[in-house]
Amino acid sequence: MSQKLSKSFLSYYSNLSKKEFSLLSFERIFGGASRETYKIRLKDSLGSEERLILRLSQESSLIETEQRIEYLAYSAFQKSNVPVPILIDMSEDDSTFNVPFMLMRELNGEAANPFTPNSYSPYEQDIGIQFWSILGEIAKKRIDNEIFKAFAKDLDKPFWKTELDKWVKVIEEDSIGVEPILDAGIRYLYKYPPKESNNICMVHGDYRSGNFLYFKNKITGILDWEMAHLGDPLEDLGWALSPIWSWQDRDRPAYLIPRDEALDVWENSSAHKVDKKDLEWWELFAAIKGMAIWISAGNEFKSGKNIDPINLFSAWIPGDIHLEIILNTLESKI
């Protein structure tokens, strides 16, 4: 697969750039569940090297999202305070690589495993401040009109209900067993909704540890925007704060800085005030959304549509953790 793909990529990119290239390496990155991602190194005839990232839509992926959505989300933050890769090309048709794709420049840095404590040591403080500050920047960014319009077609109020309905539908469609804890969590969210937000912002949709690149003490890029949409800024905050991303040290969300400090940084950066009660709702919502994703992964695996082991892991381990988070939250409300 890789050899055929690398050959067609070389031909495509030489045509696009109107230059001849030779391939230095073409490697698939492990772990992505919604896109097949390749890291590519090329050299032109003068010896200059280019480092690129190619993202291909998967025929069977966890969350089916349009390639264009991801591309537009990256477009919205080019040359902004939110570091993102420079975009090169995108196609929604199958003519080039048999599936939709997106091409961008590779950024320096590495992504951590979100389940590993101390990945950012000794730079937790520096990276933590940037992590929560960048999330605030996303919340306050004025989105270009054309991009806003493209996203607004799916915009419906109240945001909380749109999002909750969407993920409950995924659960109903993909569930392979009865889960009373999850059902109780969903009932709670519908029964005690948050206040409707007056702030519409771009929501990353998967802003968390592991979805950004860092080099030493600096965040170099925010990645994986395929679930981006317009909505309530507390949605991203609730997801990023979820204890699943710091399960072995729950007082330091994302294994970075303490929670209160993180919220201060976010409030200062976003210019929004956190409503604690509404944030609690979004944090429980994050666990339900997580369960939808892990259930969907388990379904892909069980049905044989995609037997990538990451799908089985997702159903087994993060699924367990999010159920425990839901139960802890429900008990605390009694």
């Binding site: 009865v178 059902d183 072995q248 082991p309 139960l327 009694i334």
Partner: protein, 147 residues
């Protein structure tokens, strides 16, 4: 006596992780094989108790339903097995799904009545069920496989 299934799986996982995976140069394929090794390792650790776990969970749900819900013993008679040969994991799992459906409905009923103590007993049951089933305490394996 033949080696048990869990021993076979354990050895297979060790071979994959320690013998075959390091031989693969392609990073993606090596990581993917390593993940399979970790998954087989988790399966090896869980397979021996899988039937007992389901049986215990089913019995716990039945006990809770009898003491805290509107359901009576006659309605639960169907879940008693008369034939020990039929108590395969798939049979126990089929009953488990039916019992979980009953449990979900009864918890919802308690919530609508606002009976806090009763709801807490239900949550206690859910916690013990979850605790017995979970594999997330093996999260170290996940780290190894994804690192």
């Amino acid at each position: 006596m033949k080696p048990d299934i869990n021993i076979a799986l354990l050895n297979a996982a060790q071979e994959i992780l320690n013998r075959f995976s390091p031989l693969i140069e392609d990073e993606y394929e090596r990581s993917r094989l390593g993940s399979w090794g970790a998954l087989i390792l988790i399966s090896a650790m869980k397979v021996d108790g899988a039937g007992t776990l389901l049986d215990k969970e089913n019995q716990d749900i039945i006990d809770w339903l009898l003491s805290h819900s509107r359901i009576n013993a006659d309605q639960l008679e169907v879940f008693k097995s008369s034939d020990s040969d039929s108590e395969t994991i798939s049979f126990l799992d089929e009953n488990n799904q039916k019992l979980r459906t009953l449990l979900t409905k009864e918890v919802e009923f308690l919530e609508s009545g606002g009976k806090k103590n009763e709801i807490l007993t239900a949550y206690g049951l859910l916690r013990s069920m979850h605790h017995r089933r979970k594999v997330s305490d093996l999260v170290g394996l996940l780290q190894q496989s994804l690192d």
